[in-house]
Symmetry: none
Amino acid sequence: MAGISLRKARTIIRKALEHGRAEGMKPLSAVVLDDGGNPIAFERGDGASPGRYGIAHGKAYGAVMLGMGGRAQRDRAEAQAYFMAAANGVYGGAVVPVPGGVILRDARGRMLGAVGVTGDSSENDEAAALAGIAAAGGLTAEP
Amino acid sequence: MAGISLRKARTIIRKALEHGRAEGMKPLSAVVLDDGGNPIAFERGDGASPGRYGIAHGKAYGAVMLGMGGRAQRDRAEAQAYFMAAANGVYGGAVVPVPGGVILRDARGRMLGAVGVTGDSSENDEAAALAGIAAAGGLTAEP
Amino acid sequence: MAGISLRKARTIIRKALEHGRAEGMKPLSAVVLDDGGNPIAFERGDGASPGRYGIAHGKAYGAVMLGMGGRAQRDRAEAQAYFMAAANGVYGGAVVPVPGGVILRDARGRMLGAVGVTGDSSENDEAAALAGIAAAGGLTAEP
Amino acid sequence: MAGISLRKARTIIRKALEHGRAEGMKPLSAVVLDDGGNPIAFERGDGASPGRYGIAHGKAYGAVMLGMGGRAQRDRAEAQAYFMAAANGVYGGAVVPVPGGVILRDARGRMLGAVGVTGDSSENDEAAALAGIAAAGGLTAEP
């Protein structure tokens, strides 16, 4: 499959968490989902709060299901809160519409999945996701 | 029942998706529900994000259950957000109250079901739904 | 993507429903899901009971999520009922573990999605799914 | 807390998946939960079916929440199915009571979390979990 391999998902996550440590962020957690919204890999940094899986997942899950990065979801939530609330009802309440959810695309623009990072500010979470994706190579990130 | 046949539902969906392609919209997805809010047919255009069934369904489902088109639901959500949130609680979180959900009526005004289209802007989604309904013939559309 | 196109999904569904009519079965309904368990297309035959989407979906959804065809799921449910009950809890109660859910694979054995057919006996549903898959061509079916 | 570090969780998972490959098992997936039942890390082996997170999680989650390994849960499910069904209701349907869920304890017997492995037979899943735990060192496994 031309999807995200476990090896690539590991690299994205590892490098996102390393980026957070190098930048002095609070402990980060990161998930990689495939193009169907199903988890490939997740890691929670030591010292992160226990509920981080759900937030990381929710950032990436909304990105895959709606085909919108977390930044675009936040803008939509701020412009039309009831739409994102309704979308969340449709997706079982699992969507977290803020930056830190980043769509992964291949060179032709096809969606391969998404990364969700959480633990620090949404902007820092997003920066860590982008660092992880850049380190993995060969992927286009859509925040 | 003089409801929506599968043949008619197929035509509505096919023509709605074709309208989107002809107008250069993003890939659309469309569902047709019967007058009980149950799915007759659904299609997701190639390249659409994976979660489109829930959004298309939610637009049409709210239209049937409340007897209000998506446009009317959006107006109500903007005037009285808590009402639409409460209605969504009643309907299991499945309602997406924005344009693109269009009620189908027969010549005497009886509700036969609804169409839900998603993938581009809500206004474009609605235009595609109306194009599909017009192509099927014999139906009155209430957006 | 090397997945199931809407065009191919339409063919599978159309031919499954035609097979049912040709064999004198009760009205069938059929869904095609992608390899992430998300709907590509669905059709409910005229005269089928209104709740057929959920059953068709549940047959295909379990097949994708567990990587087991409906026949294998039924065998597991009969040998170890509590396991399938638990799996269903994990998947939100959406799994229907009986024949009629058929995994789609490409020539190399990679899962591309699944078909779910419902409306007649489970064995007839499965036969219709297999007929639809055969008509689409290029796919290996795992019932 | 002397709990399971991310580093240790990574090792358990990595070695469990390697054990599966070395033994010719189907592709495995594995999760490590902390002593509150919250995910620390998860990996899904390439080629595993998409829904493996929920099953892996369910094996480990039941183990933590009930303080019973998957083997003990299976025995209880076979002796008294309604008890495990009721427990599952209490825990949101998330429990999968079969071997492959293994409690992690420290030298004094205190529960530190649990591992959940899925993908092959329950017995093989459990063997892979035990191999991963042994490789990490310093932990007592309760299957």
